[in-house]
Amino acid sequence: MNGDNISRAIETVWRMEAPRLVAGLVRMVRDISLAEELAQEALVGALQSWPKSGVPDNPGAWLMTSAKRCAIDYFRHNAMVARKLPEIAHATPTDASAAPDPEALLDAGSGDDLLNLMFVACHPALSPEAQSALTLRLIGGLSTNEIARAFLVSEATMAQRIVRAKRTLAEAGERFAFPNSAERQARLGSVLGVLYLIFNEGYSATTGQDWMRPQLCEEAMRMGRILAQMVPDQSEVHGLVALMELQASRFAARHGADGTPILLAEQNRARWDRTLIGRGLAGVDRARAESLHPGSYSLQAAIAACHARAALSCGNRLERDCPTLRPIGTNQSRPRY
């Protein structure tokens, strides 16, 4: 491998690990920007040592250890400054024992770090646009440039949006602590809403636009699957992932060769994606198994599943085959394409 390939491989590993890395660091340092900086420092360290030593067996753990070391340095430096400043000002030095022990803080690991970071990114104090941007940045690991292209705004605008979101969090007094169970349910709803918003942003893209937009659908599904792993008992998470997968299964059939939309009934069902349909149908079943009272995502997924099942046999026998639709009534809008 030449040097270019090695740096690209290292950066890929870092991008794969970055969300968990930042999530762990946010818990320790309680500051998103600082956590991102420390994760970046770990990348710099990897770029320096991996070309010589090779990529370690557990690159995630290596990066975390390296970032922790940077965090400890940072805390020590701050503690030193805190001691020095009063001396300079001829005031009483602060009691050193009152400062938190950085190493103890860093070692108190939590498996819920990534979930908590999702909750932080979807904080109710933030606008939906800011929530989406921050989620894609922190959980999706997308660069500011990629997020900007996906939302059809300039990189400077998106950078501003992210900076402002971080400031809003700081002003809202976000402590980056795991929310209690009552708050958790509300936050989870907000996370699901943001993921679906990101998905729809990508789904509305038409041909010829930047490839980053359809990429949003993939990213939303991927983050949904990660979330489903973390809270497997939440029926609506399975419902949302299934809904996204079933809708995405129609991606190839939604447009004609000239880019004009093709309505659901007229779509070439042979072009629907069978892998996604299979996953989506399994997800609908899973959502049903987790709760007897389906939420809105689970219900919408069940409707999408009826269309998908119709595609697997022939024709559109929606009303006859889908008892699930009965409790919904007639006002519910159906997917048009």
Binding site: M16, M223, F251, E266, N268
Partner: protein, 142 residues
Amino acid sequence: MRFMIIVKANADSEAGVMPSSEAIARMGVFNEKMIEAGVMLAGDGLHPSSRGARIKSENGKVVVTDGPFSETKELIAGFWMIQTKSYEEALEWCKRIPFDAGMEVELRKAFEASDFVSDSITEEHLAKEQEFRDAQKPISNG
């Protein structure tokens, strides 16, 4: 983007030798990691080619040849479908596979919807195909 990781067959897989319980456990951990990262879409192991067949059309006639097939290196023993951000990420997952002695995989990119948005399929052709499909009787198991 989506990739298929194709697991090549070898003498053991073709002989129907099941992997050791340690190997299965290691593979389980690897699959779990891919599921946690949200990248794994599907994956399966395949029985030896002795339980399969090859089907082709010769002069308009369908010809079935029962397995096994001898050219082991060209056969496959399993696959994963994964979804990643980049080719590099897919490659990185391949590097993390808990390889058994003699195990080899091949990484291939799957066509995406956008690959098909071309002039090669005309509206007329699509309409015709749809008409044809709609005229088919539903396939029923009963």
